[in-house]
């Protein structure tokens, strides 16, 4: 809300600092690689138990299963990202350093997006091996995955900020995030299906929808964090 207290640090620089800080914590604590990623891979196994791999169903529904798994993993990653911020006076330090809420939001979204992108690569490779998926249309897959991941990360971070400091954040976050991100699940799944079916041309409409959603979510989050940051709201 108020003008930047810091020595004229540009927004992207603040965001980069926060993102680098989060990713550094991540490489040391290894929560994503040691907990979230194995969880996602277990879900891949569970889907095979539920849908019987012999029926040839897994390969056909792999895009949907992929994005459901990413959404579930994203809830964990986002919860972790906000929990880091609440430990022992981190917020006060960030405020004293003159960090702006908007920059913090962008930084956290960027860090979560990077973590999820790594997770998606490993998850996708696992599905290719276990579900016997033939990968085609790589450009479309990447063009859809980037905005979808950013949109999920932005929505998750926004809601985690709104629910931060409350005792029931962990149980509340899925109920808040999953309905809002339903268009992302839908769009990303259809785009992936089209790409894997060799009908990449049909996917661009969905890719456009994903971009619109991501931009909308990032803009909403920037406004909200900007308005809430200084009085401990986010």
């Amino acid at each position: 809300m108020s003008g930047p207290v810091n020595a004229g640090l540009p927004l992207w620089r603040e965001a980069a600092l926060v993102a680098a800080k989060d990713l550094r914590i991540e490489t040391r604590a290894r929560v994503t690689s040691g907990q979230v990623l194995p969880f996602a891979l277990v879900v891949v196994l569970l889907f095979a138990f539920a849908l019987d791999p012999d029926r040839g169903l897994l390969g056909r529904v792999a895009p949907g299963l992929f994005w459901v798994t990413v959404l579930l993993a994203a809830l964990l990653a986002v919860g972790r990202s906000v929990a880091v911020e609440q430990a022992a006076g981190v917020r006060d330090q960030a405020l004293l350093a003159g960090l702006d809420g908007t920059g913090v939001f962008l930084g956290k979204v960027a860090a979560v997006t990077v973590e999820l992108a790594v997770l998606e690569v490993v998850l996708g490779a696992t599905m290719v091996v276990l579900y016997d998926v033939q990968v085609t249309g790589g450009a479309v897959l990447a063009a859809a995955a980037l905005p979808a991941t950013a949109g999920i990360a932005a929505t998750g971070t926004l809601y985690a900020g709104l629910a931060s400091g409350t005792r029931m954040r962990d149980t509340l976050l899925p109920l808040l995030v999953l309905p809002v991100t339903s268009p992302v699940l839908l769009g990303a799944t259809r785009a992936f299906e089209d790409a894997l079916d060799g009908a990449a041309g049909d996917a661009w409409g969905w890719v456009a929808l994903l971009w619109v959603f991501a931009l909308f979510a990032v803009a909403a989050g920037m406004l909200a964090f900007g308005a809430l940051w200084e009085d401990g709201g986010a």
Partner: protein, 263 residues
């Protein structure tokens, strides 16, 4: 309380409640007795006299929630009353949205042969229901205060803005993969005469019911805040009295006599 009283005076509340009860009574008579059974759907079509009004009210209620939230966030119009109104309206919206889904399902079973169809309108309504369930859950854990109200207002606006995106994406998805089959024009009743009148009475009755319940819920929220503020005030006064009491004064507070003795 005085502010609540001024915004929503008691006689108006009574008038709305009586009008809603009267209109609902008229709806019962019109819907069950006067209106003829539908030529195609038979008596099942009478569910529409409830389904259409509840659907309209769910959207109205969520719209009011979004509007009140926007007015709360706008610095010039910020007032605790908007926050209370947003919460009250969202509760009713979730209630009416749930009723819409349940009534639609009851109607769908005899007419479509299924309890549920993956139609764009149905899916959007279901997502809407869960969006605002989340909003209410968030309100519950946020508690009272200015920061809580601001967070709730942001959450309401994000949820409301998401509705067109959900609707667009779902509609696109369903029409790409299958032509609309459930909203078959042949199934649409030709709405005329007493049927149209009954439907309009239904919309009016439920709108009045919504306004009456909204006012009631708004007053309860106001009274609740008032009581919490009073309790806090009383606790502060009691604490202050026990700490500042001069030794020779007559102890009156609940902790009377526990004051620090004079040197």
């Amino acid at each position: 309380m005085t502010a609540t009283e001024r915004l929503y005076p008691r006689p108006l509340a009574r008038l709305l409640a009586v009008a809603a009860a009267g209109a609902l009574g008229a709806l019962v008579v019109l819907g069950l007795v006067v209106a003829p059974p539908d030529a195609v759907q038979g008596d099942a079509q009478r569910i529409m006299y409830l389904h259409v009004p509840t659907a309209w009210l769910a959207y109205l209620a969520f719209g009011i929630t979004a509007l009140a939230s926007a007015l709360y966030l706008w610095p010039r119009t910020r007032a605790a009353a908007w926050d209370r109104l947003a919460g009250a309206s969202a509760e009713l919206g979730v209630l009416f949205c749930g009723l819409t889904l349940a009534l639609g399902s009851l109607w769908g079973r005899p007419i479509w042969g299924v309890w549920w169809a993956w139609d764009a309108r149905l899916i959007t309504t279901a997502v809407l229901f869960f969006l605002f369930c989340g909003y209410l859950a968030l309100r519950r854990v946020l508690g009272r205060g200015e920061v809580a109200a601001r967070r709730a207002a942001i959450a309401a606006l994000v949820a409301f803005a998401d509705v067109p995106v959900v609707h667009f994406s779902v509609e696109w998805w369903r029409t790409l993969h299958q032509r609309a089959t459930v909203f078959n024009p042949e199934l649409d009743p030709q709405i005329e005469g007493t049927m149209a009148l009954t439907l309009w009475v239904g919309v009016l009755a439920f709108t009045l019911l919504y306004l009456a319940l909204l006012g009631l819920r708004y007053r309860i929220a106001g009274a609740d805040e008032h009581r919490a503020a009073q309790a806090l005030e009383a606790a502060i006064t009691a604490r202050r009295r026990s700490a500042e009491l001069p030794a020779d004064a007559v102890p009156t507070g609940p902790l009377g006599g526990a004051g620090v003795p004079a040197p």
